[in-house]
């Protein structure tokens, strides 16, 4: 009867490997554990803390399982006690109602703190003014509008390092989820709403983002390039786009919104209030989460 | 314990009645019906929740204050309340063993229920003529579904009640028909309570 044990070892071993991978984050490709911004970094820390806390119970229990199964297996001449009617011990039961309660309390407190600290719509602390980028999930591409710069891009987003980015996210398509793993967690892209997500890149570099919620046929092509550069490079890129790219017209947007995958594109301008139009197109009742500029526009219209 | 030991397990059981394995079959069925009603409460609860979430979403279409004609609604409310009362009278007649009165009151209840349905269908037709259909707005989708589901329940109850009157004529008051009358009267009171919520949340609070 050696085999059940082999299983146990196999499992604990694979757990250990997983734990090791998670805590060291050594492998290049496990990008979630290789954060490049403050949000992703705090989220990574939370993952590690919670892994350690839960391991405090799980690992001893796994070891205990091995010991119990080994010691109390049925064989001739074993010395371990056999007590067929032993079925209750208040002391023991208090212990194992108690241990998980303590661990969960600790983890719960950490989680509550983290939930408020990392609320996606909370502005990041920074002495720099946040840059607003408006994100629209289309079938099957991402449209990025830079209201302050007046340019737009498809399937690529650039921004300066060290500056908080205020993403305003909506959809003109089925619900999607906006995700740049190395900068921080997701936010749903929902039509009729503009969701806010603050992210920031601490270093220059090229990352990628994706749509994480299934939206149909070409869903697997909804990746976008993410590039964080120096402020100067960013400004230069903006003026290049303005000089060399075509403008996005309303008609152009309607064509762009047709269901199809798309390459990277840049536009030197976009129709005034396009994002606001997209958000309010479907639902007049819950158009919350619009940026200050958009609210101004609503007021003007009224 | 001693008794257990001396006769052994398999041949232990001594029964006092010959219906020992189903002493209260009819009671058990009534109990099951209570649980069914609980599940129906949740269905209606879900529809009410949907209505409350969506009632403001008019999509530029008409709202409750323009659509609802409270006169007809109040009339049908009274009719349904009365039918609940007459179904109670039916159960009382059953307990007295008066089959004729029982069938009579059930008949009256069914008639009142049918009137309620006619009024409701009438209201729906009126709404559709006003251009307020299920596909006009989220508010109207939720309205028609909630009120219509209640109406569907009442209609099914009507068919069931007529079937029961025929069965009473055939079999008289037996434990089985007794349970069936009890169960349908439960169902009827339940629909009445649901209607009170519909009346309050949809109509009264709508036209307020």
């Amino acid at each position: 009867m050696k085999r059940p044990n082999a299983l146990r070892w196999f499992a604990s071993l694979s757990m250990l490997v997983l734990l090791l991978l998670m805590t060291t984050g050594c492998t290049e490709s496990m990008i979630v554990l290789d954060p490049k911004g403050p949000i992703a970094e705090q989220q990574r820390d939370l993952m590690i803390i919670s892994t350690i806390l839960t391991s405090l119970v799980i690992v001893p229990v796994l070891i205990l399982t091995v010991i119990i199964v080994w010691r109390y297996r049925d064989r001739t001449g074993r010395k371990a006690k056999y007590a067929p009617d032993w079925e209750h011990s208040t002391k023991l039961e208090v212990i194992w109602w108690g241990i998980p309660i303590i661990i969960i309390t600790v983890l719960g407190l950490i989680t509550i703190k983290g939930t408020y600290a990392l609320e996606p719509s909370k502005p990041l602390e920074s002495d720099k003014k946040p840059l607003t980028i408006q994100v629209t999930s289309l079938d099957w591409k991402w449209l990025f509008q830079y209201p302050e710069q007046g340019i737009a891009t498809v399937n690529a987003v650039n921004f300066p390092e060290g500056v908080p980015i205020r993403f305003e996210i909506t959809a003109d398509s089925p619900m999607n989820s906006f995700w740049i793993p190395q900068l921080g967690g997701q936010m749903y892209a929902m039509s009729g709403m503009a969701m806010t997500l603050y992210l920031q890149a601490d270093e220059r570099g090229e990352y990628w983002g994706s749509g994480a919620n299934f939206t149909g046929k070409e869903f697997a092509k909804m990746y976008f390039d993410v590039k964080s550069t120096s402020q100067e490079e960013f400004d230069q890129w903006v003026s290049e786009v303005k000089a060399s790219s075509p403008a996005l017209t309303l008609e152009g947007y309607q064509q762009l919104a047709e269901p199809a995958a798309s390459d990277v594109k840049t536009f030197s301008a976009f129709p005034e209030g396009l994002f606001y139009m997209t958000v309010t197109k479907y639902a007049s009742s819950h158009n919350h989460g619009l940026s200050w500029e958009d609210i101004q526009k609503i007021k003007i219209q009224e | 314990m001693a008794q257990l030991n001396d006769s052994g397990h398999a041949n232990q059981h001594v029964s006092s009645s010959d219906h020992h394995d189903h002493p209260d079959m009819e009671e058990m069925r009534t109990f099951g019906f209570w649980i069914y009603l609980m599940t129906d409460v949740i269905i209606f609860g879900t529809l009410f929740a949907a209505y409350i979430v969506l009632q403001g979403n008019r999509n530029g279409g008409p709202g409750p204050e323009e659509l609802f004609q409270m006169g007809g609604i109040i009339a049908s409310t009274f009719i349904l309340l009365t039918s609940s009362y007459t179904s109670g009278l039916a159960v009382l007649a059953m307990h007295k063993g008066n089959r004729q009165a029982l069938m009579g009151w059930l008949g009256v209840t069914a008639l009142l229920g049918a009137t309620f349905i006619v009024l409701e269908v009438n209201e729906f037709i009126h709404l559709v003529h006003e251009g307020a259909t299920i596909s006009t707005s989220a508010f109207l989708s939720a309205f028609f579904t909630l009120v219509g589901t209640h109406g569907l329940h009442v209609s099914i109850g009507l068919v069931w009640m007529i079937a029961l009157i025929i069965q009473l004529a055939k079999h008289g008051i037996t434990p089985v028909t007794k349970r069936k009358v009890n169960v349908i009267s439960l169902f009827w009171h339940f629909l009445d309570v649901v209607w009170i919520f519909v009346f309050t949340i949809v109509y009264l609070m709508g036209v307020r």
Binding site: I58, G114, E119, P120, A212 | H13, A138, H171
Partner: protein, 654 residues
């Protein structure tokens, strides 16, 4: 005319994919084979009398389990196709449309048409025997539940060859599942397949609550009931509170699609997020509905094979009831990323973590049932041990996912995929297998071959870890779920390849199980004792397979492990030979109505799917007529005379 037929057929049947033509041919061949076999061996009458009209809970249970196995095969083939497509980057084995259909049907089938019927099958075969009852509370309703499930599942599966499969994921989030983005009939198959079988599930929930509360043998107080019926009770309570939400929600989605209502549409003021809330208010309890009975099974098995009383009985009961209630308070953890704000997320993160406490207590109690026991390692016990390890890992990652801000990174990634397979395969499937191996001798009167069973166990386990541990890593690499393919540049291919190999191992494991059954039937070694595992509860006190009335005389219960205690008593004091005093047994009569009525439901559903009003109306009228016929039928039961009982008992006890 001919042209019309041809164009109709090309719309009606799914065309253009060799895989599907292959399936078409094999389905037709199988049907022809079955029809031919039944006719040749003159078995039609037998089929009708013994199976299609039966109200015997044991036979219904067997039909449930058989269907579950067929569905496990279909869902498993789906899984293997997906894994094959993902084995390497940029493969083109499945087109995106086809892939999307396959992950949708895989999810729906595995949860609703494999796990649920497997569970109901075990409820049916075990619960009445364990509580010393002769049948369930409502045998007619029980048969109706089964046939509704069966025809619902058939309707859903029909979409594979007719009209096209649904492709919007197992929970069919709108607006993608609305007509605007999903005009085909697949989504309607989804709605009606689930709706029809869901009504059956709801009725089973009611049925078993009443059975357990009202039909226990004399002397069996609730706190003396074995643990499995307790788990069934907690699961059924969750069923009756959650399934109505599913019914209502799918009805609303159907109204959107069929009548152009605006519950979850983008336009007209609809609110898709409401669907996501509602569906998870059912969906989260649903996963506890299927795992709680597995917990009950493990409790029975651990105690039997450690030859020791279950440790901490009361704790176990409370833990299950707490889980059952908490399962209704956690739904929003499936969409922390919806932006509901920190208050909402913090609340649902906390309630989710709370579930870890009673679950942890249960694991401790199982361990301490083994502590000071005498453990043997027959296959049911092996699956239980495999479960404990697997579920510890799955439970741990579950707690990780409940940390709301961290979930922003885990959400919709392969980390999540790995987690729920970890708990559903490791918790639910392992549990049902354990239960099937454990109660198989009671069902059929012989044990399954242990040697092949151990091969199957090890293939399942090693395959499982090989398949899903890499998926945790893939999640951390940023791979999201429901991707039809991925590029070489992402660095995901090694892990995906390992995962595919693991899935293949599980496929082989399934073949071992089929072989195990065939082999065991061929080399049949009948179990004469009725108690092959030295069991502890009442089902082992009667012969295997149990006679149709279960207990010739109803047992008088005085303790939790009644049969174990009884065996001890008999050892101390040999059984007195006084023949049991028999009485006529009251039994329900067979009925064809459940089968016919479910066929009408099937027709109505099919009519709704294709918008053929004549078929819908005739189907619904048929349903109503069936109900009335049943209502007017007062001849629903009979008594078995004492002579017959004596003859049957003499025959099986030899």
């Amino acid at each position: 005319m001919w042209e019309n037929v041809k164009s109709f057929a090309s719309e009606f049947f799914v065309t253009g994919d060799p895989l599907i033509y292959g399936a078409d041919i094999s389905i037709v061949l199988t049907i022809i084979g079955i029809v031919f076999g039944l006719t040749y061996f003159k078995k039609w009458g037998w089929l009708w009398r013994e199976w299609l009209t039966t109200v015997d809970h044991k036979k219904i249970g067997i039909m449930y389990i058989l269907s579950a196995f067929l569905m496990l095969f279909r869902g498993g083939v789906d899984a293997l196709l997906m894994r094959a497509q993902l084995a390497m980057p940029e493969l083109n084995l499945l087109a995106p449309d086809h892939y999307n259909q396959i992950f949708t049907t895989h999810g729906v089938i595995m949860i609703l048409f494999m796990a649920m019927p497997f569970m109901f099958g075990l409820f049916n075969v075990v619960v009445p025997l364990q509580i010393g009852a002769r049948d369930v509370a409502y045998p007619f309703l029980n048969a109706l539940s089964f046939w509704l499930f069966f025809f619902g599942a058939m309707l859903f599966n029909l979409s594979f060859v007719i009209g096209g499969s649904p492709d919007s994921g197992w929970l069919a989030y709108p607006p993608y599942s609305e007509r605007m983005f999903n005009p085909g009939v697949g989504q309607d198959f989804y709605i009606w397949g689930i709706q029809i079988s869901g009504i059956g599930s709801l009725m089973t929930g009611i049925n078993f609550i009443v059975t357990i509360l009202k039909m226990r043998a004399p002397g069996m107080k609730l706190m003396k009931m074995p643990m499995f019926p307790w788990s069934v009770l907690s699961s059924c309570i969750a069923i009756i509170f959650s399934f109505p939400i599913l019914t209502a929600t799918l009805a609303l989605l159907f109204l959107d699609r069929y009548l152009g209502a605006h519950f979850f549409t983008l336009d007209g003021g609809g609110n898709p997020m409401m669907y996501i809330n509602l569906i998870w208010m059912w969906g989260h309890p649903e996963v506890y509905i299927i795992v709680l009975p597995a917990f009950g099974i493990y409790s029975e098995i651990v105690s039997t094979f450690a030859k020791k009383k279950l440790f901490g009985y009361k704790s176990m009961v409370y833990a299950m009831m707490i889980i059952s209630i908490l399962s209704f308070l956690v739904w929003a953890h499936h969409f922390f990323t919806m932006g509901s704000g920190a208050d909402v997320n913090a609340f649902f993160a906390l309630t989710t973590m709370l579930i870890a406490i009673p679950t942890g207590v249960k694991v401790f109690n199982w361990l301490f049932t083994m502590f000071r026991g005498k453990i043997t390692f027959e296959t049911p016990m092996l699956w239980t041990l495999g479960f404990i390890v697997c579920f510890l890992v799955g439970g741990m990652t579950g707690v990780l996912l409940s940390v709301a801000p961290a979930d922003f990174q885990f959400h919709n990634s392969y980390f999540l995929v790995a987690h729920f397979h970890n708990t559903i395969i490791g918790g639910v499937v392992f549990g049902y297998f354990a239960g099937l191996y454990y109660w198989w001798p009671k069902l059929f009167g012989f044990k399954l071959n242990e040697r092949i069973g151990k091969w199957a166990f090890w293939f399942w386990n090693i395959g499982f870890y090989a398949c899903f541990m890499p998926q945790y890593v893939l999640g951390l690499m940023g791979m999201t779920r429901r991707l039809v393919t991925y590029g070489w540049d992402k660095g995901w291919w090694e892990m995906n390849l390992v995962s595919t190999i693991g899935a293949g191992l599980m496929g082989i494991a399934f073949l071992f199980q089929v072989w195990q059954i065939v082999y065991s039937v061929k080399h049949l070694q009948k179990d004469e004792t009725g108690d092959p595992w030295n069991g502890r509860t009442l089902e082992w006190s009667i012969p295997s397979p149990a006679p149709y009335y279960n207990f010739a005389t109803l047992p008088q219960v005085s303790s939790q492990d009644e049969w174990w205690e009884e065996k001890q008593r008999r050892e101390r004091e040999p059984l007195s030979l006084a023949p049991p005093k028999l009485e006529p047994i009251h039994m329900p009569k067979n009925s064809g109505i459940p089968f016919v009525m479910s066929m009408f439901w099937f027709a109505a559903g099919f009519g709704f799917v294709f918008d053929w009003l004549w078929l819908t109306i005739s189907g619904l009228v048929g349903v109503a007529v069936c109900m009335l016929v049943h209502s007017f039928n007062y001849d629903t039961d009979y008594y078995i005379p004492v002579e017959d009982i004596k003859r049957t008992e003499a025959a099986i006890r030899g």
